[in-house]
């Protein structure tokens, strides 16, 4: 019975950490647009906490480059389990159009395990919300 209560609470209260890992800010603007009154994700209990230690969802945009891969790893490690990583935009998936640049590592999943991929360049807010909801389903299925 407790497990059901916890699963329910987790799905209804996902706090997210948004990290721009070398993005052109296109996807970032779309992520932040989700928080505005137009899309209002606080209806789902989602809050943008800027602190990995408080967060459950990790939204990463942008390609990963050699300098901020350390930051990505650090932030991921500072988040308490259970956590869900959502990679947003084609840069986050595989490096996007910048894939062959000299400094680009290419794709978030080269550094940390990713649970949900949201394609698009930039990804639309509806797609991002869809991706987050899919992540929540996965989150709810995690047994602690």
């Amino acid at each position: 019975m407790f497990k059901k209560l916890i699963k329910n609470s987790r799905m209804k209260s996902p706090w997210l950490l948004h990290f721009d890992c070398g993005s052109c800010n296109g996807c970032d603007i779309e992520v932040l647009a989700c928080l505005t009154p137009v899309y209002d994700v606080e209806r789902f209990g989602i809050i943008n906490v800027g602190n990995p230690m408080h967060a459950d969802l990790f939204l990463v945009t942008g390609t990963v480059n050699s300098r901020n891969s350390m930051v990505l790893r650090n932030l991921y490690d500072q988040m308490p389990n259970p956590k869900v990583v959502v990679a947003i935009g084609s840069c986050g998936l595989s490096g996007g159009i910048f894939r062959e640049a000299y400094n680009v590592v290419g794709g978030v999943d080269k550094i940390i395990p990713v649970d949900v991929y949201v394609p698009g360049c930039p990804a639309k807010p509806e797609a991002i919300i869809d991706g987050v909801v899919a992540g929540l389903q996965k989150y709810g299925r995690i047994v602690n």
Partner: protein, 634 residues
């Protein structure tokens, strides 16, 4: 009772002489420990025979009045000599004034020795004796390893320890004598001994800085002594006897108020209230046991003891209102100055001045609840402040700094001492411990006096600020894993742990303390303020459930400690540094790929609460208040 009084007063004098002439450290330490033990035992045995009074005729075979008189003049001439040696005009003036007035008083004014009884011990004296003997002895015990370390550190070839321990023991005897004295001349004699001891101990290290501060302490305390003797002369001419109990009970007529006001003024200088606080701050250059014993637990309590004694005499007068406002003002101003300090011993010094101001305010408000608050504050402040000073002394010897910023994360270097210091700070500011009980009682007692209460509210908020930041800083180093204890001499552990236990456990028995020891100190003029039922202090307008809150606090403590044990097995993450933290704790990747250490410092708010900024205004305001006090008495 004569035997106990002898042990309490004369034995320390004899031990002091022995310590001074003994060159062997182990023998000296045993004498100190034996004296400490005897003092503790006799003070505890005194509980059963209180109240009592008696007048001894002789001590060690000689007439007691002659001995006291000769020694008194000796001390005054010594002070005069020190004034000349250190070229300080004020000391010379005050010493000469006191010699002249004492001679005048003795040979021209007093026709026969009619003060009886000479020694009078009621419960207030008993409480003071318990504090002096028990807390004082513990401090002396701790000073044995402290001074050993101190001298090794200074690489002294000829030990100055005989002088140190001699004066410390002499001081303990003098304090005991002072609180037992009913004859004001005896009180004055012991008062002067404490002045001299303070001078000798502050200047112990014999450097230019310590001598300068010792001289400053000497002139300010001599000012107190001079005011005292002037008051005695006026009292003798008005009442004809220098008997404390008689003075309190005579009807007020003529110039009666002026000497009482002068005695209050002398008390203010002794307790380092504004504008005379600089001697106490300067006295922090002395070795820390000196600061613990003289300048927080015992000597500075002489002033508040004196005003509490005079309390029944000045109840309801303008003078007592002045004392209340002055005390409250000192409480606030010293707390404000402590906020701007980062030197650990100076924070403790300002906190002492602040708490003494609060006790003066209680004595000034002069209702039974207020006086109860004052006595409780005296007891618990003495224990806790001694504990904190000893902790700071131990810390200072280990990390060679007394700045709070250097004590950041002390837990990693000295876990047990850091924890004891945190416990000390907690007993200073939190319920259900005794200091907070006293503060609660003081606020409730002061609530009819609009100025005092606003000042107390502000001061109490400032107090929390400077203590909480110190307690937090001590634990600032991230720890996980097994708990290790550091190595300290056994005597240090004994003193620190006994004071720590004393502070916490005594708070839990404070209702019993109140009913057994504090209620009997009141005479008929005061109504009983609180009833004690099942560990709850209650009266129609307020209640403080000491025992229930203590039990709840204990349960909360146990739960929290269990939580820590569970947290020690948790996953440790570095503190948040925007993701750029490196593996070395507290560093992050900075510009040019160089590691940078993240630093933070406390807010000292020196633009508002800085010592240089505030002291002038505070001294000015204090001078105005004292003038009002004396002027109102005329």
């Amino acid at each position: 009772m004569e035997k106990l009084t002898f042990i309490l007063i004369v034995l320390p004098f004899l031990s002091a002489i022995f310590c001074y002439i003994t060159p062997y450290r182990k023998l000296r330490s045993s004498i100190v420990m034996a004296t400490a033990f005897l003092l503790i035992m006799s003070s505890l045995m005194l509980i059963r025979i209180t109240p009592f009074s008696f007048s001894p005729i002789t001590v060690i075979g000689a007439d007691i009045h002659h001995i006291v008189l000769i020694l008194d003049f000796l001390i005054l001439f010594l002070i005069f000599y020190f004034g000349i040696k250190h070229h300080n005009l004020l000391i010379i003036i005050f010493a000469i004034l006191q010699i002249v007035l004492l001679g005048y008083l003795e040979y021209f004014m007093i026709k026969e020795q009619t003060v009886s009884p000479i020694f009078y011990c009621d419960y207030l004296s008993l409480i003071m004796i318990l504090i002096i003997s028990i807390v004082g002895s513990i401090i002396c015990i701790q000073s044995i390893p402290y001074m050993k370390n101190h001298e090794e550190h200074l690489e002294l070839r000829i030990s100055r320890e005989p002088r140190f321990f001699g004066v410390m023991l002499l001081f303990l005897g003098a304090m005991n004598g002072l609180v037992l004295s009913n004859d004001l001349l005896f009180l004055y004699f012991f008062f002067e001994i404490t002045t001299l001891c303070s001078f000798l101990l502050i200047g112990h290290d014999n450097t230019e800085r310590t001598i300068r501060n010792a001289v400053r302490a000497l002139w300010m305390n001599s000012l107190g002594g001079a005011l005292f003797i002037i008051a005695l002369v006026i009292l003798n001419s008005q009442i004809g006897a220098l008997d404390m109990q008689k003075i309190i009970h005579t009807p007020k007529a003529g110039l009666w108020f002026l000497p009482i006001a002068l005695l209050c003024f002398a008390a203010f200088t002794k307790s380092a209230q504004f504008p005379f606080q600089s001697w106490l701050l300067g006295a922090m250059v002395a070795p820390t046991p000196v600061s613990a014993l003289l300048h927080s637990s015992t000597m500075v309590k002489i002033g508040v003891y004196l005003v509490l004694r005079l309390g029944p005499a000045i109840q309801g007068t303008f003078l007592t209102h002045c004392v209340a406002i002055f005390g409250a003002f000192t409480f606030l101003a010293a707390a404000a100055l402590a906020v701007g300090q980062s030197n650990g011993k100076k924070v403790l010094a300002y906190s002492t001045i602040s708490n003494l101001g609060l006790i003066f305010a209680c004595a000034g408000i002069n209702s039974s609840a207020a006086i109860t608050a004052g006595i409780l504050l005296i007891i618990f402040h003495a224990i806790t402040k001694a504990l904190l000073f000893l902790c700071v002394g131990v810390i200072e010897q280990h990390i060679e700094s007394r700045d709070i910023e250097d004590m950041r994360g002390l837990y990693s270097k000295m876990p047990v001492t850091a924890l004891i210091t945190v416990i000390g700070v907690i007993t200073m500011i939190m319920p259900p411990f005794g200091l907070l009980l006293g503060k609660w009682m003081a606020i409730e007692a002061a609530s009819r006096n609009i100025f005092v209460i606003i000042i107390l509210a502000l001061g109490s908020a400032l107090t929390v600020m400077y203590w909480a930041r110190w307690a937090g800083i001590l634990m600032s180093d991230p720890f996980a894993g097994k708990f290790k204890t550091e190595k300290q001499p056994i005597l240090t552990w004994v003193s620190l742990v006994s004071l720590c236990l004393g502070a916490t456990l005594l708070s839990m028995i404070s209702p019993w303390l109140y009913s057994r020891m504090i209620i009997p100190t009141f005479n008929e003029k005061y109504l009983q303020s609180y009833t004690v039922t099942r560990g709850i202090l209650e009266n129609p307008s307020g209640s403080f459930a000491v025992i229930p809150l203590s039990i709840l606090a204990l349960i909360g403590f146990i739960v929290s400690v269990l939580a820590v044990r569970k947290a020690l097995r948790a996953r440790v993450v570095p503190p948040y540094l925007s993701g750029v933290q490196l593996s070395e704790p507290g560093t992050f990747l900075g510009p040019m790929n160089q590691p940078v250490k993240a630093e933070a410092k406390n807010y000292y708010l020196s633009s508002i609460f800085g010592e240089q900024r505030l002291t002038i205004w505070v001294n000015l305001a204090a001078t105005v208040l004292i003038t009002m006090l004396i002027g109102g008495a005329l």
